[in-house]
C-alpha cells in the first residue's frame, strides 16, 4: 500500500532521516519503535507530508506522492492520530467528526452525522456527541480523534504516539480501539512506546535509530532475537 524509497529529511543542519526504505502492505500493522530523537515521528509525518521529505520517494497505492499534485487525495485516504489529540476545541465532538466528510468529501449533513454517530458508538462514546472536546478526558478525546480520522473512510491510519500524552489508566481504552481496528483489517502505521501493543497487534516492527532503519522483523523475532547491539540496548531499557 505504501512504498518508501530512500527517504531523507533534513532540518537545516539536522539530518533526521538518513535514507529509509521499506513498505507497508495492505492490512498490515507496522509498529515503529526507537529511542527519542531516532526520527520515528518524523518518519510517520513524512508519509502524509506534514513534514516535507528532503529526499527519496513515497508511493501510495502505486502512485508517487507529489505535494504539488495529489497530496490532498493522499491525505484523505491516510487518517492520522496525534499525540496531543488536536481536536478542534471550538466545535462539538459530532462536528469535529463531520467537518471533513462534509467539507472535503461533500457528504450531506445527514449522511455525515449518521456516519459520525456510528463511529462514536464504535469507540464507546455515543453519549458524547454534543460535548465539547475539553469536557472529555484525554482517553475520550483520543478516541474521538480516531473516530474523526475514520470518518473519512481512509485506506490507512497513521498513529503518532497516540498514548504518550495520556494518564496511565486511560491508555488501555485507546489501545483497545486500535486493536479492534487492526482486527478489522485496517492498514496501520503506529509510532509507540507500548511494547505490549507492538507484540500483540503488530505484524512487523521497525526499529529506527539516529535516522536509520536498523532492523525490521516480526515482533516475536525482533523482541526475542534482536540482531543489532543498538536494538538490544534499546529493548533492554523498555521491556
Amino acid at each position: 500500500m505504501v512504498t518508501i524509497q530512500n527517504l531523507h529529511k533534513k532540518f537545516k543542519n539536522l539530518h533526521v532521516l538518513k535514507g529509509i526504505t521499506t513498505s507497508i502492505e495492505k492490512g498490515e500493522v507496522v509498529v515503529v519503535i526507537g529511542p527519542s530523537g531516532s526520527g520515528k515521528s518524523t518518519f510517520l509525518r513524512c508519509l502524509n507530508f506534514l513534514e516535507q521529505p528532503t529526499g527519496g520517494e513515497i508511493y501510495f497505492d502505486g502512485v508517487l506522492i507529489d505535494p504539488a499534485k495529489n497530496i490532498l487525495q493522499v491525505r484523505q485516504e491516510m487518517g492520522m492520530v496525534f499525540q496531543r489529540f488536536n481536536l478542534f476545541p471550538h466545535i462539538k465532538v459530532i462536528d469535529n467528526i463531520t467537518l471533513a466528510p462534509k467539507t472535503v468529501r461533500n457528504l450531506s449533513a445527514d449522511e455525515a452525522r449518521a456516519r459520525a454517530l456510528a463511529l462514536l458508538d464504535k469507540v464507546g462514546l455515543a453519549d458524547k456527541a454534543n460535548s465539547y472536546p475539553d469536557q472529555l478526558s484525554g482517553g475520550q478525546q483520543q478516541r474521538v480523534a480516531i473516530a474523526r480520522a475514520l470518518a473519512m473512510r481512509p485506506k490507512m491510519m497513521l498513529f503518532d504516539e497516540p498514548t504518550s500524552a495520556l494518564d496511565p489508566e486511560m491508555i488501555g481504552e485507546v489501545l483497545d480501539v486500535m486493536k479492534d481496528l487492526a482486527k478489522e483489517g485496517m492498514t496501520m502505521a503506529v509510532v509507540t512506546h507500548e511494547m505490549g501493543f507492538a507484540r500483540e497487534v503488530g505484524d512487523r516492527v521497525l526499529f529506527l535509530d539516529e535516522g536509520l532503519l536498523l532492523e525490521e522483523n516480526t515482533p516475536s523475532e525482533l523482541f526475542s532475537n534482536p540482531q543489532h547491539a543498538r536494538t538490544r540496548e534499546f529493548l533492554s531499557k523498555v521491556l
Binding site: 491525505r75 478542534f88 467537518l99 474523526r148 480520522a149
Partner: protein, 218 residues
C-alpha cells in the same frame, strides 16, 4: 467660584448630536477597519510578495500620527487628484485605514496564537490550507481577538476626536463651538469627558458580554 450646571444641561442636546456623529464615524470605521485589517493581517502571514505591501501599510500607519494621516487624506490627497474629498468621507477613510493597521496586528497575532497542531489535524484530514484557515483557524482566532478588538474600538472612539480639525461636527468640535460662544471651558470639557466615559464604558461592557457568550469550548 461658580459652576454652571444649567449650561451643561442646555448644551447637552448639541453635544449628544456630536456624540452620535462620533459613534457613527467610529462604528463605520471599525467595520471597515476590521475588513481591511483581517485581509492585511492574513496577507502578512502569507508567502507571496503581498506580505511586504501589508507590512509597509502597517508600519506606515503605526509609525505616523493619526492627525497627519487625516491631513494627508483631507488636504493632501484632494490636491493630488484635483478634487475635494468631503470631510465625512475623509474622516472615515482616515479612521478606517488607521484602525485597519492595528487590527491587522491583532489578527496576525491571533492567528499565530492557534497551535500548529490544529492546522496539522485539519490538513491530515485532507482539507486545503484555505479551508483549514476558514473552518479551523479563523473561528478560533476570532474568539481570541475579541478582547483586543474591543480595546481597539475604544481607542478609535477616543482618537476619532481628532477629526474635529477638519470641521466635522463631532463631540469635541461641538464643545469647541459652544465654548467659543459661552467662554465656559470647564463645564463643557467636563461634560465631553463624561459623555466619552459613558460611551467607552458601554463598549467595554458589550465586549465583555460577547466574550463570555463565545467562551464555550475554548
Amino acid at each position: 467660584m461658580d459652576f454652571r450646571w444649567d449650561l451643561i444641561w442646555r448644551s447637552l442636546p448639541l453635544l449628544l448630536q456630536g456624540a452620535w456623529l462620533t459613534i457613527q464615524l467610529t462604528s463605520i470605521s471599525v467595520f471597515f477597519g476590521i475588513l481591511v485589517g483581517t485581509i492585511a493581517g492574513m496577507l502578512r502571514l502569507s508567502k507571496g510578495p503581498m506580505r511586504y505591501l501589508a507590512g509597509a501599510y502597517v508600519d506606515f500607519i503605526r509609525g505616523t500620527p493619526l492627525l497627519v494621516q487625516i491631513f494627508i487624506i483631507y488636504y493632501g490627497f484632494p490636491a493630488l487628484i484635483q478634487n475635494p474629498v468631503p470631510p465625512y468621507v475623509a474622516a472615515i477613510i482616515a479612521l478606517s485605514l488607521n484602525c485597519g493597521a492595528y487590527v491587522a496586528e491583532i489578527v496576525r497575532s491571533g492567528i499565530q496564537s492557534i497551535e500548529k497542531g490544529q492546522t496539522e489535524a485539519a490538513l491530515s484530514l485532507g482539507l486545503t490550507p484555505n479551508k483549514a484557515m476558514r473552518y479551523i483557524i479563523l473561528p478560533q482566532a476570532f474568539r481570541r481577538i475579541i478582547p483586543p478588538l474591543g480595546n481597539e474600538f475604544i481607542a478609535l472612539l477616543k482618537d476619532s476626536s481628532l477629526v474635529s480639525v477638519i470641521a466635522l461636527e463631532e463631540l469635541v468640535r461641538r464643545a469647541q463651538v459652544i465654548i467659543g460662544r459661552t467662554f465656559r471651558p470647564f463645564e463643557l470639557w467636563l461634560a465631553v469627558a463624561l459623555i466619552f466615559l459613558v460611551m467607552t464604558f458601554t463598549i467595554s461592557r458589550l465586549v465583555n458580554y460577547v466574550e463570555r457568550r463565545l467562551k464555550v469550548g475554548d
